[in-house]
């Protein structure tokens, strides 16, 4: 827990304009506060990375922490119930990775009325009732990966992209997809052939990729979620389409491994571990009435073969040996 990750360069977006700051956590919490953490799920290494940051920072700062996961993005009612249960069990602060950015708005008001600060982590959401937010700007995430695509483009090379943004109706998939298309579309050589929405399981994405290979023979770029990339690697090998390049819109363990093997071009990261750490730090700052930032945003990084070795991966993913803990007790 005592890896020295700070100071960490982040955007302070509290005022509306972005300001780069060196984020510094507090040393210790004044009291062992009870912090309730709500996750959409813990079914992939991405959320495990956030959990890792949260658990580690809770230990370092000396607070009590419990994580509840809702079992998936299609379980909004369950997250709402968990939110209520958090309030009922007397938490001092709530850190939430919201399933629906606006779906928990009403819950937020209830928490605010009870004086419980709510900190949004990882999943972006803007609300006056939020005490603080630690999440990446999805637009910058999408444009980072679009830029990675553009950067890799040889002069005059045409890119025919099929995007696999994630589940329809999730909001984030739609947002990222739109921004990716906008940014990538600035280059007239880049064409988006289609967007294939689907759940972020490897099996589902595999079928989508396989069908897209048939439906769009001219496709030479795949941009999509981490499970898409994972599925696409096998599908491309099998179809003998080594010319198709893969860029992942976010990070997980499989992406790191695939990058090491050279199976994908790049993936973008929002440093989920740092998001988790900062979220806990912000919660403690608020509870201890210390100065805090209303909205901190990690600056998305593009990780490719070149940048991989220079980076501290423990800011991106949990160590392979770490097994998730759901509660930290003092």
């Amino acid at each position: 827990g005592d890896t020295k990750w700070y100071p960490f360069k982040m955007n302070d977006a509290s005022s509306g304009d972005l300001k780069i700051v060196d984020y510094m956590p507090v040393d210790k919490s004044e009291k062992p506060h009870n912090i309730c953490v709500l996750f959409p799920h813990m079914k992939d290494s991405f959320w495990v990375a956030v959990a890792y940051g949260i658990a580690e920072q809770s230990k370092v700062l000396g607070v009590n922490m419990t994580i509840y996961e809702a079992g998936g993005y299609d379980n909004l009612p369950k997250q709402l119930s968990q939110f209520d249960d958090c309030i009922a069990s007397g938490s001092n602060a709530i850190v939430i990775g919201a399933i629906s950015t606006v779906g928990v708005a009403k819950q937020l008001q209830a928490a605010k009325a009870k004086g419980i600060p709510v900190i949004a982590v990882t999943n972006s959401f803007i609300s006056p009732d939020l005490a603080a937010g630690v999440f990446v700007d999805l637009k910058s995430m999408a444009s980072a990966s679009a830029n990675a695509l553009l950067a890799g483009l040889k002069p005059g090379e045409a890119a025919n992209v099929v995007t696999f943004p994630g589940p329809a109706g999730s909001g984030w998939a739609e947002t990222m997809n739109k921004d990716f298309e906008t940014v990538a579309g600035q280059n007239s050589n880049v064409k988006t052939l289609a967007s294939k929405f689907g759940d972020t399981g490897v099996a589902v994405q595999l079928q989508l990729v396989q069908d897209a290979l048939q439906a769009y023979p001219s496709m030479n770029y795949i941009w999509g979620t981490a499970p898409t990339a994972e599925a696409a690697i096998g599908a491309l090998t099998e179809a003998g389409r080594s010319d198709v390049k893969i860029i992942s819109s976010y990070e997980n363990q499989a992406m790191l491994d695939a990058l090491k093997r050279g199976d994908i071009r790049a993936f973008t990261t929002q440093y989920p571990v740092i998001e988790g750490r900062v979220a806990i730090d912000e919660a403690v700052r608020i509870l201890d009435k210390k100065p805090f930032l209303r909205l901190v945003q990690p600056i998305p990084g593009v990780i490719d073969k070149a940048s991989m070795d220079k980076m501290d991966m423990s800011t991106v993913l949990a160590p392979a040996s770490w097994s998730p803990v759901y509660t930290v007790k003092q």
Binding site: M42, T66, I67, Y68, E69, G71, G72, Y73, D74, N75, L76, P77, K78, L80, S81, Q82, D84, D85, C86, I87, A88, S89, G90, S100, T101, V102, G103, V104, A105, K106, Q107, Q109, P167, A168, G169, S170, G171, A173, E174, T175, F197, Y326, T327
Partner: protein, 327 residues
């Protein structure tokens, strides 16, 4: 929840002892959690449990109605999503205009109920007239409703509903009971009356028990089946409206896992897929059982995946004990 027990309303039929097992299990479970952590019994948490139960209760009741008619509604979840988006769009669309909030909310309610009725009529007509297995019909409309919900909303939550809507259906309270609980009680009483005191309700049980005999006895079987699905989907729509008021937005994925959850609550409570049994009471007991269980586990801080294991075991165990006594 303070629903009158069915025994008091229905015709002097005394409740057999074995029907009290599951409610007893709920109490024991609750007491067990309360011993582990007194916060389970705090006033805040009791209201919380009531509120959470009232949503699941409405969906379980909707599912129970078709289960009584020997059917099954797989499309319940997506219907909830579709209603949420549809009603939110209707209200948000009018919100900027010159209409008073009350009118907008009324339009939203009517739109939501109409969306529900539409799905129900579609399901019911095909089940009743073409006699296709309910599972397949509602699997079809599961997909259709999912598609409509995401297409209408463009995948984003729909915002901009009038405050009155939230006030009436979420934050408001009567006699200390939160609005969703009040709505659930009212609808529960209404459905109880409908099932026990109307020709339609009687028909549902008879058709579900023995469709052939019902036909021979001159009951309008097709009409009854269609009405069952319409009624069920309208009830789902009300559940969805309450949830929409709770989330503050029309959510295209609101209903995700509700189809299965509602069926679980209905069956745990004592309805049977063989048809002809179940009612308001079983839906109530089933949903409270599940909510108390998951609320308790959350509060005593059992981690997510362990919760899944415990939930699975206790649900089966609860039903085993309940049914063993019945034999």
């Amino acid at each position: 929840m303070t629903m009158p027990a069915p025994s008091r309303l229905s015709d002097r039929v005394h409740v057999p002892v074995h029907q009290l097992i599951l409610p007893l299990a709920v109490v024991v479970l609750f007491a067990g959690f309360a011993v582990r952590d007194p916060r389970v019994m705090s006033a805040g948490n009791l209201v919380n449990i009531l509120q959470q139960s009232s949503f699941l209760f409405l969906f379980a009741l909707a599912q129970t109605i078709v289960i009584i008619a020997r059917g099954f509604d797989l499309s319940l979840g997506p219907t909830a999503s579709m209603v949420s988006v549809g009603a939110a769009l209707a209200m948000a669309g009018l919100a900027g205009g010159p209409y008073p909030e009350l009118v907008i909310v009324a339009v939203g309610l009517v739109a939501g109920a109409a969306f529900g009725a539409l799905v129900g009529a579609f399901n019911g007509a095909i089940v009743g007239y073409a006699r296709v297995t309910p599972f397949v019909v509602t699997l079809g409309s599961f997909n259709i409703a999912t598609g409509i919900a995401t297409t209408l909303s463009g995948g984003h939550p729909v915002q901009g509903m009038p405050e009155l809507f939230f006030g009436l259906f979420n934050t408001g309270s009567i006699l200390g009971l939160p609005a969703p609980v009040v709505v659930a009680i009212l609808l529960g009483l209404l459905v109880h009356y409908l099932l026990r005191r109307t020709v339609l309700g009687r028909g549902l049980y008879l058709v579900g028990t023995n469709m052939r005999a019902a036909e021979v006895a001159g009951l309008r079987v097709r009409l009854i089946l269609t009405s069952a699905y319409v009624l069920s989907s309208v009830l789902t729509a009300f559940g969805a409206l309450l949830l929409t008021a709770r989330t503050g937005s029309g959510e295209p994925t609101l209903g995700g896992t509700l189809s299965l959850q509602s069926a679980a609550a209905a069956i745990v409570g004592g309805a049977s897929f063989a048809g002809g049994s179940g009612g308001v009471g079983t839906a109530l007991v089933g949903s409270i059982f599940i909510i108390v269980l998951s609320n308790g586990m959350n509060i005593v801080q059992i981690s997510g995946y362990v919760q899944m294991i415990i939930l699975g075991v206790i649900v089966v165990a609860g039903v085993v004990v309940d049914r063993l006594r019945a034999q």
